[in-house]
Protein backbone atom coordinates (compact mmCIF):
# COMPACT_ATOMS: atom_id res chain seq x y z
CA UNK A 1 0.00 0.00 0.00
CA UNK A 2 1.23 3.42 -0.78
CA UNK A 3 -0.19 6.85 -0.34
CA UNK A 4 0.06 9.18 -3.28
CA UNK A 5 0.33 12.70 -1.96
CA UNK A 6 -0.05 13.96 -5.52
CA UNK A 7 -3.40 12.20 -5.93
CA UNK A 8 -4.61 13.53 -2.59
CA UNK A 9 -3.68 17.07 -3.67
CA UNK A 10 -5.56 16.69 -6.96
CA UNK A 11 -8.64 15.29 -5.28
CA UNK A 12 -8.56 18.04 -2.64
CA UNK A 13 -8.46 20.66 -5.37
CA UNK A 14 -11.32 19.04 -7.29
CA UNK A 15 -13.53 18.80 -4.23
CA UNK A 16 -12.64 22.29 -3.02
CA UNK A 17 -13.46 23.75 -6.43
CA UNK A 18 -16.77 21.90 -6.61
CA UNK A 19 -17.78 22.97 -3.08
CA UNK A 20 -16.86 26.60 -3.62
CA UNK A 21 -18.40 26.88 -7.07
CA UNK A 22 -21.66 25.32 -5.95
CA UNK A 23 -21.77 27.74 -3.04
CA UNK A 24 -22.11 24.87 -0.58
CA UNK A 25 -19.35 26.36 1.51
CA UNK A 26 -17.88 29.83 1.75
CA UNK A 27 -14.37 28.67 2.55
CA UNK A 28 -12.18 25.61 2.39
CA UNK A 29 -9.48 25.02 5.01
CA UNK A 30 -6.57 23.16 3.47
CA UNK A 31 -2.83 23.47 3.08
CA UNK A 32 -1.02 25.81 0.73
CA UNK A 33 2.51 26.56 -0.34
CA UNK A 34 4.81 27.98 2.26
CA UNK A 35 8.20 29.59 1.79
CA UNK A 36 9.61 26.28 0.60
CA UNK A 37 8.54 22.72 -0.19
CA UNK A 38 9.22 21.52 3.30
CA UNK A 39 6.99 24.09 4.90
CA UNK A 40 3.44 23.94 3.59
CA UNK A 41 1.11 26.34 5.41
CA UNK A 42 -2.49 26.24 6.50
CA UNK A 43 -4.40 27.83 3.65
CA UNK A 44 -7.89 29.18 3.21
CA UNK A 45 -9.55 29.06 -0.20
CA UNK A 46 -12.44 31.50 -0.35
CA UNK A 47 -13.20 31.25 -4.02
CA UNK A 48 -12.60 28.95 -6.97
CA UNK A 49 -9.63 31.10 -8.00
CA UNK A 50 -7.84 30.28 -4.73
CA UNK A 51 -8.09 26.54 -5.26
CA UNK A 52 -4.90 26.26 -7.27
CA UNK A 53 -2.96 27.32 -4.22
CA UNK A 54 -3.85 24.10 -2.40
CA UNK A 55 -0.93 21.79 -1.70
CA UNK A 56 -0.65 18.42 -0.06
CA UNK A 57 2.61 16.71 0.77
CA UNK A 58 4.29 14.69 3.46
CA UNK A 59 4.94 17.78 5.58
CA UNK A 60 1.28 18.76 6.02
CA UNK A 61 1.29 18.20 9.76
CA UNK A 62 -0.99 21.06 10.79
CA UNK A 63 -4.29 20.33 12.38
CA UNK A 64 -6.71 22.60 10.53
CA UNK A 65 -9.51 22.02 13.02
CA UNK A 66 -7.71 24.76 14.94
CA UNK A 67 -9.06 27.37 12.55
CA UNK A 68 -12.72 26.33 12.71
CA UNK A 69 -13.48 28.38 15.81
CA UNK A 70 -11.98 31.50 14.24
CA UNK A 71 -14.92 32.06 11.88
CA UNK A 72 -18.34 33.30 12.99
CA UNK A 73 -20.89 30.67 13.91
CA UNK A 74 -22.91 29.54 10.97
CA UNK A 75 -20.12 30.00 8.42
CA UNK A 76 -20.31 27.11 6.00
CA UNK A 77 -16.85 25.61 5.93
CA UNK A 78 -15.09 22.67 4.40
CA UNK A 79 -12.11 21.38 6.28
CA UNK A 80 -9.43 18.92 5.20
CA UNK A 81 -8.58 16.54 8.00
CA UNK A 82 -6.21 13.70 8.66
CA UNK A 83 -7.15 11.02 11.18
CA UNK A 84 -6.26 12.84 14.40
CA UNK A 85 -7.57 16.13 13.00
CA UNK A 86 -10.97 14.57 12.36
CA UNK A 87 -11.15 13.65 16.04
CA UNK A 88 -10.58 17.31 16.85
CA UNK A 89 -13.51 18.24 14.63
CA UNK A 90 -15.67 15.64 16.40
CA UNK A 91 -14.60 16.98 19.77
CA UNK A 92 -15.42 20.55 18.72
CA UNK A 93 -18.85 19.38 17.60
CA UNK A 94 -19.35 17.64 20.97
CA UNK A 95 -18.47 20.89 22.68
CA UNK A 96 -20.81 22.82 20.42
CA UNK A 97 -18.11 25.10 19.08
CA UNK A 98 -19.09 24.22 15.53
CA UNK A 99 -22.24 22.70 14.12
CA UNK A 100 -22.07 19.47 12.20
CA UNK A 101 -24.35 20.83 9.49
CA UNK A 102 -22.07 23.82 8.89
CA UNK A 103 -19.18 21.57 8.00
CA UNK A 104 -18.11 19.57 5.02
CA UNK A 105 -15.34 17.30 6.27
CA UNK A 106 -12.81 16.24 3.67
CA UNK A 107 -11.28 13.14 5.23
CA UNK A 108 -7.76 12.16 4.24
CA UNK A 109 -6.64 8.63 5.10
CA UNK A 110 -2.89 8.98 5.21
CA UNK A 111 0.23 7.83 6.95
CA UNK A 112 3.87 8.75 6.76
CA UNK A 113 3.39 12.46 7.50
CA UNK A 114 6.69 13.94 8.62
CA UNK A 115 7.65 16.64 11.05
CA UNK A 116 9.49 19.22 8.89
CA UNK A 117 11.80 20.13 11.76
CA UNK A 118 13.09 16.64 12.48
CA UNK A 119 12.10 14.66 9.39
CA UNK A 120 10.60 12.09 11.74
CA UNK A 121 7.36 10.28 10.80
CA UNK A 122 4.72 11.40 13.27
CA UNK A 123 2.34 8.40 13.09
CA UNK A 124 1.77 6.83 16.46
CA UNK A 125 4.56 8.47 18.37
CA UNK A 126 3.22 11.98 18.53
CA UNK A 127 -0.24 11.32 17.14
CA UNK A 128 -3.10 9.02 17.99
CA UNK A 129 -1.79 6.50 15.48
CA UNK A 130 -4.98 6.20 13.43
CA UNK A 131 -4.74 6.24 9.66
CA UNK A 132 -8.34 6.91 8.74
CA UNK A 133 -10.50 9.86 9.75
CA UNK A 134 -13.27 8.94 12.19
CA UNK A 135 -15.79 11.31 10.63
CA UNK A 136 -15.97 12.64 7.10
CA UNK A 137 -18.33 13.62 4.33
CA UNK A 138 -15.99 13.12 1.43
CA UNK A 139 -13.13 10.68 1.46
CA UNK A 140 -10.13 12.08 -0.41
CA UNK A 141 -8.20 8.83 -0.77
CA UNK A 142 -8.90 5.16 -0.23
CA UNK A 143 -9.08 4.03 3.35
CA UNK A 144 -5.85 2.61 4.64
CA UNK A 145 -6.28 -0.94 5.78
CA UNK A 146 -4.38 -2.43 8.64
CA UNK A 147 -3.97 -0.78 11.97
CA UNK A 148 -0.99 0.95 13.51
CA UNK A 149 1.87 -1.30 14.48
CA UNK A 150 1.85 -0.36 18.10
CA UNK A 151 -0.46 1.38 20.52
CA UNK A 152 -0.20 5.18 20.54
CA UNK A 153 0.42 4.85 24.26
CA UNK A 154 3.47 2.62 23.79
CA UNK A 155 5.83 5.62 24.04
CA UNK A 156 4.64 6.19 27.60
CA UNK A 157 6.06 2.96 29.02
CA UNK A 158 9.50 4.44 29.55
CA UNK A 159 8.14 7.36 31.56
CA UNK A 160 5.65 5.33 33.54
CA UNK A 161 8.46 3.07 34.62
CA UNK A 162 10.43 5.97 36.11
CA UNK A 163 10.19 6.54 39.82
CA UNK A 164 8.49 9.68 41.13
CA UNK A 165 11.67 11.62 41.67
CA UNK A 166 13.12 10.85 38.27
CA UNK A 167 9.85 11.76 36.62
CA UNK A 168 9.65 15.03 38.50
CA UNK A 169 13.25 15.79 37.53
CA UNK A 170 12.39 15.01 33.91
CA UNK A 171 9.38 17.31 33.80
CA UNK A 172 11.14 20.04 35.68
CA UNK A 173 13.98 20.00 33.20
CA UNK A 174 11.60 20.04 30.25
CA UNK A 175 9.16 22.64 31.58
CA UNK A 176 11.87 24.98 32.85
CA UNK A 177 12.82 25.51 29.23
CA UNK A 178 9.44 26.99 28.40
CA UNK A 179 9.63 30.57 27.14
CA UNK A 180 5.88 31.12 27.44
CA UNK A 181 5.32 31.99 23.82
CA UNK A 182 2.03 30.08 24.10
CA UNK A 183 2.50 28.41 20.73
CA UNK A 184 1.23 25.17 22.31
CA UNK A 185 -2.12 26.60 23.26
CA UNK A 186 -2.45 28.56 20.03
CA UNK A 187 -1.71 25.51 17.89
CA UNK A 188 -4.11 23.39 19.90
CA UNK A 189 -7.53 22.92 18.30
CA UNK A 190 -9.11 22.44 21.72
CA UNK A 191 -7.62 25.58 23.31
CA UNK A 192 -10.19 28.19 22.40
CA UNK A 193 -10.76 29.95 25.75
CA UNK A 194 -10.71 33.71 25.65
CA UNK A 195 -9.07 34.71 27.85
CA UNK A 196 -6.93 31.75 28.75
CA UNK A 197 -6.73 31.22 32.52
CA UNK A 198 -3.05 32.14 32.56
CA UNK A 199 -3.76 35.56 31.01
CA UNK A 200 -6.22 36.43 33.76
CA UNK A 201 -5.26 38.98 36.38
CA UNK A 202 -8.19 38.52 38.71
CA UNK A 203 -7.69 35.91 39.97
CA UNK A 204 -4.10 35.53 38.93
CA UNK A 205 -3.53 31.82 38.54
CA UNK A 206 0.15 31.80 37.80
CA UNK A 207 3.18 33.97 37.23
CA UNK A 208 3.69 35.49 33.81
CA UNK A 209 7.45 35.23 33.91
CA UNK A 210 8.99 32.15 32.31
CA UNK A 211 10.31 30.55 35.47
CA UNK A 212 9.55 27.27 37.23
CA UNK A 213 6.46 28.33 39.25
CA UNK A 214 4.51 29.92 36.44
CA UNK A 215 5.59 27.32 33.92
CA UNK A 216 4.46 24.48 36.15
CA UNK A 217 1.14 26.15 36.84
CA UNK A 218 0.51 26.92 33.20
CA UNK A 219 1.35 23.50 31.87
CA UNK A 220 -0.24 21.36 34.60
CA UNK A 221 -3.46 23.31 34.39
CA UNK A 222 -3.41 23.11 30.63
CA UNK A 223 -2.93 19.34 30.80
CA UNK A 224 -5.92 19.23 33.09
CA UNK A 225 -8.07 21.42 30.86
CA UNK A 226 -7.36 19.07 27.98
CA UNK A 227 -8.12 15.93 29.93
CA UNK A 228 -10.53 13.80 27.98
CA UNK A 229 -10.46 16.36 25.17
CA UNK A 230 -6.95 16.04 23.79
CA UNK A 231 -7.16 14.08 20.57
CA UNK A 232 -3.44 13.48 20.37
CA UNK A 233 -2.59 15.31 17.16
CA UNK A 234 0.78 16.38 18.61
CA UNK A 235 0.54 19.96 17.35
CA UNK A 236 1.54 21.41 20.73
CA UNK A 237 4.87 19.62 20.66
CA UNK A 238 5.58 20.44 17.03
CA UNK A 239 4.75 24.09 17.61
CA UNK A 240 7.10 24.33 20.58
CA UNK A 241 10.27 26.25 19.70
CA UNK A 242 12.16 24.57 22.54
CA UNK A 243 10.91 21.04 21.87
CA UNK A 244 9.10 20.30 25.11
CA UNK A 245 7.47 16.85 24.68
CA UNK A 246 4.05 18.05 25.81
CA UNK A 247 2.45 15.25 23.83
CA UNK A 248 3.73 12.73 26.40
CA UNK A 249 1.79 14.30 29.21
CA UNK A 250 -1.32 14.72 27.11
CA UNK A 251 -1.09 11.11 26.01
CA UNK A 252 -0.78 9.94 29.59
CA UNK A 253 -3.86 11.90 30.63
CA UNK A 254 -5.75 10.63 27.58
CA UNK A 255 -4.78 7.08 28.44
CA UNK A 256 -5.92 7.45 32.05
CA UNK A 257 -9.21 8.99 30.95
CA UNK A 258 -9.80 6.18 28.52
CA UNK A 259 -9.11 3.58 31.19
CA UNK A 260 -11.15 5.31 33.88
CA UNK A 261 -14.14 6.42 31.85
CA UNK A 262 -14.09 4.01 28.94
CA UNK A 263 -14.18 6.69 26.27
CA UNK A 264 -11.53 8.21 24.03
CA UNK A 265 -11.81 11.85 22.99
CA UNK A 266 -13.36 12.82 19.69
CA UNK A 267 -14.47 9.42 18.45
CA UNK A 268 -18.22 10.01 18.09
CA UNK A 269 -20.35 13.14 17.93
CA UNK A 270 -22.90 11.38 20.15
CA UNK A 271 -20.46 11.29 23.07
CA UNK A 272 -20.19 13.87 25.81
CA UNK A 273 -16.70 14.94 26.92
CA UNK A 274 -15.81 12.78 29.92
CA UNK A 275 -15.25 15.56 32.42
CA UNK A 276 -18.63 17.18 31.84
CA UNK A 277 -20.29 13.86 32.27
CA UNK A 278 -20.56 11.22 34.98
CA UNK A 279 -22.07 7.88 35.71
CA UNK A 280 -23.52 6.85 39.04
CA UNK A 281 -21.56 3.65 38.67
CA UNK A 282 -18.19 5.44 38.41
CA UNK A 283 -16.05 3.67 40.94
CA UNK A 284 -14.32 5.35 43.84
CA UNK A 285 -11.35 3.24 42.80
CA UNK A 286 -10.40 5.94 40.29
CA UNK A 287 -9.52 8.17 43.22
CA UNK A 288 -7.01 5.74 44.65
Amino acid sequence: MAVSFQQIEEKLKTEARRLLESGQVSLVLAWGRGFDEKHPMPYVAKGASDVDGIVFNEFCTHNLARYLVRYPRGTKMAVAVKAADSRAVVQLIQEDKVKRHDLVILGIPVYGIKNPKTGEIIDGKTTCGLYNPVLYDILIAEEVHGQPVSSPYAVLAEYEAMDQDARFAFWKKELDRCIRCYACRKACPMCYCDPCFIDQNKPKWGEKSPETPGNLMYHLTRFHHLAGRCIDCGECSRACPVDIPLYLFHKKVAKECEEMFGQAAGMSIEDKPVLVNFRMEDSDKILE
Binding site: P42, Y43, Y182, E235, D243
Partner: protein
Amino acid sequence: MLKKTAIHQLSDLTSALMGKGTLVAPVREDAGFNFREISDAKQVDLNFHNTIISPKSVFFPQTEDFIRYRTGRPLQEAETVEPEGKPLILFGVRPCDVKSFEIMDIHFSCTGAVDPYWQARREAATLIGYAFDVAAPAEPEEFYQTLGIGAADPEGSDIFMVRRGDDLILKSITGKGEALLAGIEGLAGASADDGKFFDDTVAAGRNFKTRFTCVDAKAITKKLEDLFHNTDFWEKASNACLSCGVCTFACPTCYCFDICDETLFGRGTRRRVWDACMFTDFTLEASGHNPRTKVYQRLRQKIGHKYSYHVRKYGVISCVGCGRCTRHCPVGIDIFSIVEEAMKA
Protein backbone atom coordinates in the same frame (compact mmCIF):
# COMPACT_ATOMS: atom_id res chain seq x y z
CA MET B 1 45.55 43.03 15.78
CA LEU B 2 45.26 39.63 14.19
CA LYS B 3 45.50 36.41 16.18
CA LYS B 4 44.56 32.82 15.78
CA THR B 5 43.85 29.69 17.73
CA ALA B 6 43.09 26.10 16.85
CA ILE B 7 39.46 25.11 17.27
CA HIS B 8 40.39 22.22 19.56
CA GLN B 9 42.01 24.76 21.86
CA LEU B 10 38.87 26.86 22.03
CA SER B 11 38.44 26.14 25.72
CA ASP B 12 41.81 27.81 26.41
CA LEU B 13 40.52 30.94 24.74
CA THR B 14 37.18 30.81 26.51
CA SER B 15 38.72 30.23 29.91
CA ALA B 16 41.03 33.20 29.30
CA LEU B 17 37.96 35.26 28.41
CA MET B 18 36.24 34.11 31.57
CA GLY B 19 39.07 35.71 33.48
CA LYS B 20 38.22 39.06 31.86
CA GLY B 21 34.53 39.16 32.74
CA THR B 22 31.27 37.32 32.57
CA LEU B 23 31.35 35.23 29.43
CA VAL B 24 28.17 34.64 27.47
CA ALA B 25 28.47 32.26 24.56
CA PRO B 26 26.54 29.69 22.53
CA VAL B 27 25.87 26.44 24.36
CA ARG B 28 24.31 23.27 23.00
CA GLU B 29 21.08 22.46 24.81
CA ASP B 30 18.33 19.89 24.37
CA ALA B 31 16.38 21.91 21.86
CA GLY B 32 19.32 23.59 20.10
CA PHE B 33 21.80 26.35 20.80
CA ASN B 34 21.32 29.34 23.04
CA PHE B 35 23.47 32.09 24.51
CA ARG B 36 24.15 31.34 28.17
CA GLU B 37 26.42 32.58 30.88
CA ILE B 38 29.38 30.20 30.90
CA SER B 39 30.48 28.49 34.08
CA ASP B 40 32.73 25.89 32.47
CA ALA B 41 34.95 26.91 29.55
CA LYS B 42 34.25 23.62 27.78
CA GLN B 43 30.53 24.45 27.46
CA VAL B 44 31.17 26.88 24.63
CA ASP B 45 30.36 25.26 21.32
CA LEU B 46 30.90 27.07 18.03
CA ASN B 47 29.38 24.30 15.87
CA PHE B 48 26.15 26.15 15.60
CA HIS B 49 24.40 27.94 12.81
CA ASN B 50 22.44 30.30 14.97
CA THR B 51 20.74 30.23 18.34
CA ILE B 52 17.03 29.65 19.05
CA ILE B 53 16.58 32.85 21.04
CA SER B 54 18.52 35.85 19.83
CA PRO B 55 21.34 37.32 21.93
CA LYS B 56 19.14 40.32 22.76
CA SER B 57 18.32 38.28 25.87
CA VAL B 58 21.80 39.06 27.17
CA PHE B 59 21.15 42.82 27.34
CA PHE B 60 17.40 42.60 27.67
CA PRO B 61 16.56 39.40 29.56
CA GLN B 62 13.09 37.92 29.29
CA THR B 63 12.56 38.64 32.98
CA GLU B 64 14.18 41.63 34.62
CA ASP B 65 13.57 42.68 38.21
CA PHE B 66 13.26 46.42 38.89
CA ILE B 67 11.95 46.77 42.40
CA ARG B 68 11.75 44.39 45.36
CA TYR B 69 9.18 45.27 47.98
CA ARG B 70 7.21 43.93 50.89
CA THR B 71 3.47 44.34 51.00
CA GLY B 72 2.06 46.57 53.69
CA ARG B 73 5.40 48.35 54.24
CA PRO B 74 6.21 51.97 53.40
CA LEU B 75 7.26 52.68 49.87
CA GLN B 76 10.62 53.95 51.09
CA GLU B 77 11.56 50.46 52.19
CA ALA B 78 11.27 49.09 48.67
CA GLU B 79 14.62 48.38 47.06
CA THR B 80 15.46 49.23 43.51
CA VAL B 81 17.54 46.74 41.60
CA GLU B 82 20.61 48.56 40.36
CA PRO B 83 21.75 47.98 36.77
CA GLU B 84 24.71 45.67 36.46
CA GLY B 85 27.91 47.09 35.10
CA LYS B 86 30.15 44.02 35.37
CA PRO B 87 32.42 43.46 32.38
CA LEU B 88 30.61 41.21 29.96
CA ILE B 89 31.99 39.35 26.99
CA LEU B 90 29.50 38.25 24.40
CA PHE B 91 31.15 35.60 22.30
CA GLY B 92 30.17 34.15 18.94
CA VAL B 93 27.47 36.56 17.79
CA ARG B 94 26.50 36.30 14.14
CA PRO B 95 26.80 39.50 12.06
CA CYS B 96 23.05 39.91 11.65
CA ASP B 97 22.58 39.73 15.40
CA VAL B 98 25.38 42.24 15.97
CA LYS B 99 23.46 44.59 13.71
CA SER B 100 20.32 44.03 15.77
CA PHE B 101 21.97 45.63 18.82
CA GLU B 102 22.36 48.87 16.89
CA ILE B 103 18.64 48.84 16.12
CA MET B 104 17.79 48.05 19.74
CA ASP B 105 20.04 50.90 20.88
CA ILE B 106 17.67 53.30 19.12
CA HIS B 107 14.95 52.34 21.57
CA PHE B 108 16.91 51.70 24.71
CA SER B 109 19.57 54.37 24.67
CA CYS B 110 19.38 56.78 21.75
CA THR B 111 15.84 58.14 21.79
CA GLY B 112 13.65 59.26 24.60
CA ALA B 113 14.22 57.72 27.99
CA VAL B 114 17.41 55.78 28.41
CA ASP B 115 16.98 52.29 29.79
CA PRO B 116 19.68 52.05 32.45
CA TYR B 117 19.64 48.26 32.50
CA TRP B 118 20.21 47.92 28.80
CA GLN B 119 22.76 50.69 28.72
CA ALA B 120 24.80 49.41 31.65
CA ARG B 121 25.12 45.96 30.13
CA ARG B 122 25.71 47.27 26.65
CA GLU B 123 28.51 49.58 27.75
CA ALA B 124 30.12 46.87 29.84
CA ALA B 125 30.06 44.41 26.99
CA THR B 126 32.75 43.48 24.52
CA LEU B 127 31.22 41.93 21.43
CA ILE B 128 32.98 39.10 19.70
CA GLY B 129 31.30 38.53 16.37
CA TYR B 130 31.52 35.32 14.41
CA ALA B 131 31.18 35.06 10.63
CA PHE B 132 28.77 32.64 9.03
CA ASP B 133 30.41 29.95 6.94
CA VAL B 134 30.49 31.65 3.54
CA ALA B 135 31.48 28.42 1.78
CA ALA B 136 28.24 26.70 2.76
CA PRO B 137 24.85 27.83 1.44
CA ALA B 138 22.65 29.95 3.68
CA GLU B 139 19.84 28.29 5.57
CA PRO B 140 16.51 28.57 3.75
CA GLU B 141 14.96 30.88 6.35
CA GLU B 142 17.64 33.57 6.28
CA PHE B 143 17.58 36.82 4.33
CA TYR B 144 20.05 39.17 6.03
CA GLN B 145 21.73 39.92 2.71
CA THR B 146 18.42 41.36 1.52
CA LEU B 147 18.67 43.94 4.27
CA GLY B 148 22.25 44.81 3.41
CA ILE B 149 23.94 42.74 6.09
CA GLY B 150 26.78 40.54 4.91
CA ALA B 151 27.41 37.04 6.17
CA ALA B 152 30.77 38.16 7.56
CA ASP B 153 30.40 41.85 8.36
CA PRO B 154 32.76 42.79 11.19
CA GLU B 155 31.12 46.20 11.77
CA GLY B 156 29.63 46.53 15.20
CA SER B 157 31.79 43.83 16.74
CA ASP B 158 34.77 44.66 18.94
CA ILE B 159 36.54 41.54 17.84
CA PHE B 160 35.52 39.52 14.83
CA MET B 161 36.17 35.83 14.29
CA VAL B 162 36.39 33.89 11.08
CA ARG B 163 36.83 30.16 10.95
CA ARG B 164 39.52 28.80 8.65
CA GLY B 165 39.50 25.02 8.60
CA ASP B 166 40.55 23.98 12.06
CA ASP B 167 41.65 27.45 13.05
CA LEU B 168 39.84 30.46 14.34
CA ILE B 169 41.16 33.83 13.18
CA LEU B 170 40.45 36.73 15.52
CA LYS B 171 40.78 40.33 14.48
CA SER B 172 40.27 43.32 16.70
CA ILE B 173 37.96 45.89 15.16
CA THR B 174 37.72 48.53 17.89
CA GLY B 175 40.07 49.80 20.56
CA LYS B 176 38.06 47.93 23.18
CA GLY B 177 38.51 44.75 21.22
CA GLU B 178 42.19 45.36 20.73
CA ALA B 179 42.70 45.84 24.47
CA LEU B 180 40.88 42.60 25.22
CA LEU B 181 42.70 40.65 22.55
CA ALA B 182 46.08 41.97 23.66
CA GLY B 183 45.36 40.78 27.18
CA ILE B 184 44.82 37.17 26.20
CA GLU B 185 47.90 35.04 26.41
CA GLY B 186 48.53 31.88 24.49
CA LEU B 187 47.06 33.02 21.18
CA ALA B 188 49.21 32.39 18.13
CA GLY B 189 50.05 35.23 15.81
CA ALA B 190 48.29 35.04 12.48
CA SER B 191 50.18 35.02 9.20
CA ALA B 192 49.67 37.45 6.34
CA ASP B 193 47.89 34.60 4.60
CA ASP B 194 45.39 34.41 7.46
CA GLY B 195 44.89 38.16 7.16
CA LYS B 196 44.10 37.76 3.50
CA PHE B 197 41.71 34.92 4.27
CA PHE B 198 39.96 37.15 6.79
CA ASP B 199 39.55 39.98 4.29
CA ASP B 200 38.45 37.58 1.56
CA THR B 201 35.82 36.10 3.85
CA VAL B 202 34.46 39.54 4.69
CA ALA B 203 34.32 40.35 0.99
CA ALA B 204 32.74 37.00 0.16
CA GLY B 205 30.19 37.64 2.91
CA ARG B 206 29.07 40.79 1.08
CA ASN B 207 28.29 38.77 -2.03
CA PHE B 208 26.79 35.88 -0.12
CA LYS B 209 23.43 34.67 -1.40
CA THR B 210 20.42 34.51 0.87
CA ARG B 211 16.78 34.54 -0.13
CA PHE B 212 15.19 37.55 -1.88
CA THR B 213 16.88 40.40 -3.61
CA CYS B 214 17.73 43.86 -2.40
CA VAL B 215 15.03 46.05 -1.05
CA ASP B 216 14.14 49.67 -1.18
CA ALA B 217 13.14 50.53 2.37
CA LYS B 218 11.39 53.74 1.28
CA ALA B 219 9.25 51.94 -1.28
CA ILE B 220 8.26 49.29 1.24
CA THR B 221 7.39 51.91 3.84
CA LYS B 222 5.15 53.70 1.40
CA LYS B 223 3.56 50.54 0.07
CA LEU B 224 2.73 49.16 3.53
CA GLU B 225 1.20 52.47 4.50
CA ASP B 226 -0.96 52.40 1.38
CA LEU B 227 -2.01 48.86 2.11
CA PHE B 228 -3.05 49.59 5.67
CA HIS B 229 -6.74 49.61 4.89
CA ASN B 230 -6.60 46.70 2.50
CA THR B 231 -8.23 44.26 4.90
CA ASP B 232 -8.47 41.54 2.27
CA PHE B 233 -4.73 41.52 1.83
CA TRP B 234 -4.01 41.31 5.54
CA GLU B 235 -6.68 38.72 6.16
CA LYS B 236 -5.19 36.57 3.48
CA ALA B 237 -1.70 37.04 4.85
CA SER B 238 -2.79 36.11 8.34
CA ASN B 239 -5.06 33.17 7.52
CA ALA B 240 -2.56 30.71 8.92
CA CYS B 241 -1.27 32.86 11.79
CA LEU B 242 -1.98 31.31 15.17
CA SER B 243 -1.16 34.55 16.96
CA CYS B 244 1.33 32.98 19.33
CA GLY B 245 4.49 34.73 20.48
CA VAL B 246 7.27 32.59 19.00
CA CYS B 247 8.25 35.07 16.29
CA THR B 248 8.53 38.01 18.65
CA PHE B 249 10.32 36.13 21.42
CA ALA B 250 12.89 34.70 19.03
CA CYS B 251 13.31 38.02 17.20
CA PRO B 252 16.49 40.02 17.86
CA THR B 253 14.75 43.37 17.33
CA CYS B 254 11.44 42.93 19.15
CA TYR B 255 11.54 44.90 22.35
CA CYS B 256 8.01 45.01 23.74
CA PHE B 257 7.54 44.18 27.37
CA ASP B 258 5.00 44.11 30.10
CA ILE B 259 5.51 45.26 33.68
CA CYS B 260 4.04 42.97 36.27
CA ASP B 261 4.10 42.61 40.02
CA GLU B 262 4.61 39.16 41.38
CA THR B 263 3.96 38.88 45.08
CA LEU B 264 4.21 35.83 47.26
CA PHE B 265 4.12 35.57 51.05
CA GLY B 266 4.30 39.34 51.36
CA ARG B 267 7.42 39.69 49.26
CA GLY B 268 7.07 41.06 45.82
CA THR B 269 8.98 41.99 42.72
CA ARG B 270 8.08 44.50 40.08
CA ARG B 271 9.54 43.03 36.96
CA ARG B 272 9.59 43.41 33.26
CA VAL B 273 8.66 40.41 31.16
CA TRP B 274 8.75 40.16 27.38
CA ASP B 275 5.40 40.70 25.76
CA ALA B 276 4.34 40.12 22.20
CA CYS B 277 2.19 42.20 19.87
CA MET B 278 0.73 38.93 18.63
CA PHE B 279 -1.01 38.26 21.94
CA THR B 280 -4.67 39.19 22.21
CA ASP B 281 -4.23 40.96 25.53
CA PHE B 282 -1.25 43.02 24.36
CA THR B 283 -3.46 45.95 23.43
CA LEU B 284 -6.23 45.30 25.90
CA GLU B 285 -7.05 48.57 27.61
CA ALA B 286 -8.20 49.02 31.19
CA SER B 287 -11.64 50.00 29.94
CA GLY B 288 -12.00 46.59 28.34
CA HIS B 289 -11.64 48.02 24.85
CA ASN B 290 -9.19 46.24 22.62
CA PRO B 291 -8.20 48.01 19.40
CA ARG B 292 -6.65 44.86 17.91
CA THR B 293 -8.96 41.94 18.43
CA LYS B 294 -8.38 40.29 15.06
CA VAL B 295 -5.37 38.25 14.05
CA TYR B 296 -4.93 40.24 10.84
CA GLN B 297 -4.71 43.50 12.80
CA ARG B 298 -1.93 42.11 14.92
CA LEU B 299 0.04 40.67 12.04
CA ARG B 300 -0.36 43.94 10.14
CA GLN B 301 0.97 45.78 13.17
CA LYS B 302 3.98 43.51 13.43
CA ILE B 303 4.95 43.77 9.80
CA GLY B 304 4.03 47.43 9.56
CA HIS B 305 6.08 48.23 12.61
CA LYS B 306 9.17 46.44 11.40
CA TYR B 307 9.14 47.54 7.78
CA SER B 308 7.18 50.75 7.69
CA TYR B 309 6.57 52.76 10.86
CA HIS B 310 10.07 52.06 12.10
CA VAL B 311 11.61 53.25 8.86
CA ARG B 312 9.51 56.40 8.86
CA LYS B 313 10.42 57.20 12.43
CA TYR B 314 14.02 56.06 12.74
CA GLY B 315 15.20 55.54 9.18
CA VAL B 316 15.99 51.85 9.36
CA ILE B 317 14.08 48.62 8.91
CA SER B 318 13.65 46.91 12.25
CA CYS B 319 14.63 43.51 10.96
CA VAL B 320 18.01 41.92 10.37
CA GLY B 321 16.92 38.90 8.36
CA CYS B 322 18.17 36.29 10.79
CA GLY B 323 15.19 34.12 9.88
CA ARG B 324 14.35 33.05 13.42
CA CYS B 325 10.68 33.99 13.12
CA THR B 326 10.29 31.89 9.99
CA ARG B 327 12.30 28.99 11.41
CA HIS B 328 10.22 28.73 14.57
CA CYS B 329 6.79 29.65 13.25
CA PRO B 330 4.56 26.64 13.91
CA VAL B 331 2.73 27.25 10.64
CA GLY B 332 5.63 28.41 8.50
CA ILE B 333 4.70 32.07 8.07
CA ASP B 334 7.52 33.93 6.44
CA ILE B 335 7.61 37.62 7.24
CA PHE B 336 9.51 38.79 4.19
CA SER B 337 7.35 36.74 1.80
CA ILE B 338 4.44 38.81 3.09
CA VAL B 339 6.39 42.01 2.40
CA GLU B 340 7.11 40.73 -1.11
CA GLU B 341 3.44 39.93 -1.61
CA ALA B 342 2.63 43.42 -0.39
CA MET B 343 4.95 44.96 -2.98
CA LYS B 344 3.09 43.07 -5.69
CA ALA B 345 -0.36 43.87 -4.33
